[in-house]
């Protein structure tokens, strides 16, 4: 038996080695680095140096506020939209279902830089299609990238566009696993389609919705591409700087690895905490 286990571990060894060097060690090491002052030569152990700075850093709180704001507004909107899309995709009335399924999923496949460039163009002040549309219905054009609120809106719209379809496909799989005869029983019980949605579909879909929400929370906590590329490094004036962007700025612009590590651990901790709260709030009653 022991010999058999040893053989198994020998086969696993190449993977475990790579995993240890490139995953496990960086995770441990960054935790250790977060307790070191890394802008002195040599680095020195200073447990409160980075963590102390974090607590009093307005840039950190600004990034935290921005990240949570996006989380609180964008994730519920996106999940709601994804549920609506999934229900529409699941409708027996829909023709060319495969085409729509692909179309909704396609944004995930598009390269991040390309999609960011397109969004920058679409929301351009002078010749973006969005302002042209606003003008055409008699509304004034908006300077999307010079003010914080519209810039935040652009990020939320972009993230929603990119990920709503992805979540819709996951939710669609959940919808399709709900047996049809449950709906037939409800139809015989004179339960309207709308009530069937709220009293049968949503409760039965809950585990999948929670799964999508947790994935989205983790994704949003790490949000980087959109504020980096669409609103040009968290502009205007740090108004859309997220925790991910702050981490990048500290770690790779200022080469302050200790502080960046502390930010990274804060992000991970927050994602875990929020996900746990989410799971606890939506747990199955005994």
């Amino acid at each position: 038996m022991r010999y058999q286990n040893a053989t198994a571990y020998r086969f696993l060894a190449p993977y475990l080695l790579i995993f240890s060097i490139f995953w496990l060690w960086p995770i441990i090491n960054s935790f250790l680095i977060s307790f070191q002052a890394t802008r002195t030569v040599p680095w020195r152990f200073a447990p409160t140096f980075n963590w102390g700075r974090l607590i009093g850093d307005p840039a950190f709180f600004n990034a935290l506020k921005n990240t949570l704001l996006i989380l609180v507004i964008q994730v519920p909107v996106m999940i709601t939209l994804a549920i609506v899309m999934a229900v529409l995709l699941n409708s027996p009335l829909l023709k060319a279902r495969g085409l729509f399924r692909f179309a909704f999923f396609a944004p995930v496949v598009v390269g991040e830089v390309a999609y960011s460039a397109v969004f920058r163009l679409m929301f351009n002040l002078d010749y973006g299609i969005i302002n042209k549309l606003l003008n055409s219905v008699g509304l004034p054009r908006i300077d999307w990238f010079s003010n914080v609120t519209p810039a935040m809106a652009v990020i939320m719209i972009a993230v929603t566009w990119r990920w709503a379809g992805y979540n819709a496909i996951i939710l669609l799989a959940g919808l399709q696993s709900i047996p049809q005869d449950v709906y037939e029983a409800a139809t015989l019980d004179r339960v309207s389609k709308l009530k069937q949605f709220f009293y049968i579909t949503l409760p039965l879909l809950k585990p999948i919705i929670v799964f999508c929400a947790v994935l989205s929370i983790i994704g949003t906590m790490q949000l980087f591409t959109e504020p980096f590329l669409i609103t040009e490094r968290g502009g205007p004036g740090g108004g859309t700087e997220t925790l991910g962007l702050l981490l990048y700025r500290q770690g790779f612009r200022s080469l302050n690895f200790g502080y960046a590590s502390a930010i990274a651990y804060t992000m991970a901790g927050l994602a875990i905490a929020i996900s746990l709260v989410q799971l606890w709030l939506t747990r199955e009653p005994k």
Partner: protein
């Protein structure tokens, strides 16, 4: 309570016609079973009565009112599904009351109906449980309970027992029979199991490939089937079919020669016109209608292949037409023997057929009376 009438009911899926003009009259308070092999259209017929499938042609009336364009919920029916179709996220109590609550039924009345259903089905102690915490039989009871609280005029059952084990099936069969007596409501029940049909039904509708083969009381179908399909489908073990040829006609009797039994002949009296001499026919004999050699009108020799001993009776699976020393014949016969007369495997035996306890069919399967 209500009668259910089907007039020339047709169902098509695209170009495929599944049900070809069904005519059925279910009387008020009657228990009617639709039975037939898989794909015969029996479930489709039931779902059309429920309103879950559109009717492609013909007319369905419940309680004298044509319901072709009436919503399922307004037809006065309740349905029990094969898979139970319970709401998995609701307790038993919520499952029972869901429909009533959603329709704003007064709370006191809802409670009364749920209580009554739980008492009828003896599920009062399960009310707080979720469906996944119930056994198959308990789930089926809850599904029936959900139908009861609707206080329908007609109960529809779609193969309700096919997901249960053999013992539970017998138990639930008795319960459904009891329920019918207690409620006195019209019930239409779909099954592929002819035993269920025989034990539950006031009348059976035998379906085959979208056609109604015969409608009648269980024993009428057993004793007097309209054709070879019904004769073969009703009864367990199945009726034996022996190939034969008409070799002569004498007044009201026809003389048959059994093709696989070395020229054994049987004089079979008929009430109608006998088939032409030389016609190929099929003689149907139920397993219990084989007698000891010399007791009947025609003796045949068979070789016992396998014997199933059930205690009170034994079923001998025998190869017909195999004289001692010969190879196995082309026809396998199932012969019922009393336990005391059981044969060992490999035995040669001679059994006897009585003309009065056999049925004659022409080549197309139609009955020759």
């Amino acid at each position: 309570m209500a009668a259910v009438t089907l007039k020339n009911v047709v169902k098509r899926f695209g170009v495929f016609e599944i049900v070809h003009g069904a005519n059925i009259d279910v009387e008020d308070g009657e228990f009617v079973v639709f039975v037939g092999p898989s794909g015969c259209g029996k479930s489709t017929l039931l779902r059309m009565i429920a309103g879950l499938e559109d009717i492609s042609g013909g007319e369905i009336a419940i309680g004298g009112k044509v319901v072709n364009n009436v919503e399922p919920a307004d037809r006065g029916i309740a349905m029990v599904f094969q898979s139970y179709a319970l709401y998995p996220h609701m307790s038993v109590e919520q499952n029972l009351s869901f429909g009533l609550r959603m329709n704003g039924n007064p709370k006191a009345d809802t409670e009364r109906r749920v209580k009554r259903a739980s008492e009828i089905l003896r599920i009062a102690e399960l009310m707080k449980r979720r469906p996944r915490q119930l056994s198959g039989g308990q789930r089926q009871r809850v599904a029936i309970g959900r139908a009861i609280v609707r206080e329908p005029q007609v109960f529809l059952f779609d193969e309700p027992l096919s997901n249960l084990d053999a013992e539970l099936r017998v138990q639930m069969r008795v319960e459904i029979s009891r329920l019918h007596k207690e409620l006195g409501v019209t019930m239409i029940y779909v099954t592929h199991d002819q035993t269920e049909a025989m034990t539950l039904a006031d009348r059976i509708v035998v379906l085959n490939a979208g056609n109604i083969e015969q409608i009648g009381a269980p024993l009428d179908l057993y004793d007097d089937p309209a054709n070879r399909f019904v004769a073969g489908f009703v009864g367990s073990p199945k009726m034996n079919f022996l190939a034969a040829q008409v070799v002569g006609n004498d007044g009201n009797a026809t003389l048959l020669e059994l093709a696989n039994h070395g020229g054994a002949r049987l004089q079979k009296p008929l009430s109608g016109a006998p088939p032409a001499v030389g016609a190929e026919v099929v003689l149907g004999v139920r397993p219990e209608h084989f007698f000891e050699a010399g007791e009947g009108d025609c003796d045949i020799a068979v070789k016992a292949d396998v014997a199933e001993h059930l205690g009170s009776v034994s079923y001998v699976y025998a190869n017909a037409g195999a004289a001692p020393g010969a190879n196995a014949g082309p026809e396998e016969l199932i012969i019922e023997r009393e336990a005391s007369r059981q044969r060992a495997t490999g035995d040669h035996m001679v059994v006897s057929i009585k003309a009065g306890q056999s049925l004659l069919f022409d080549k197309s399967g139609a009955r020759i009376r």
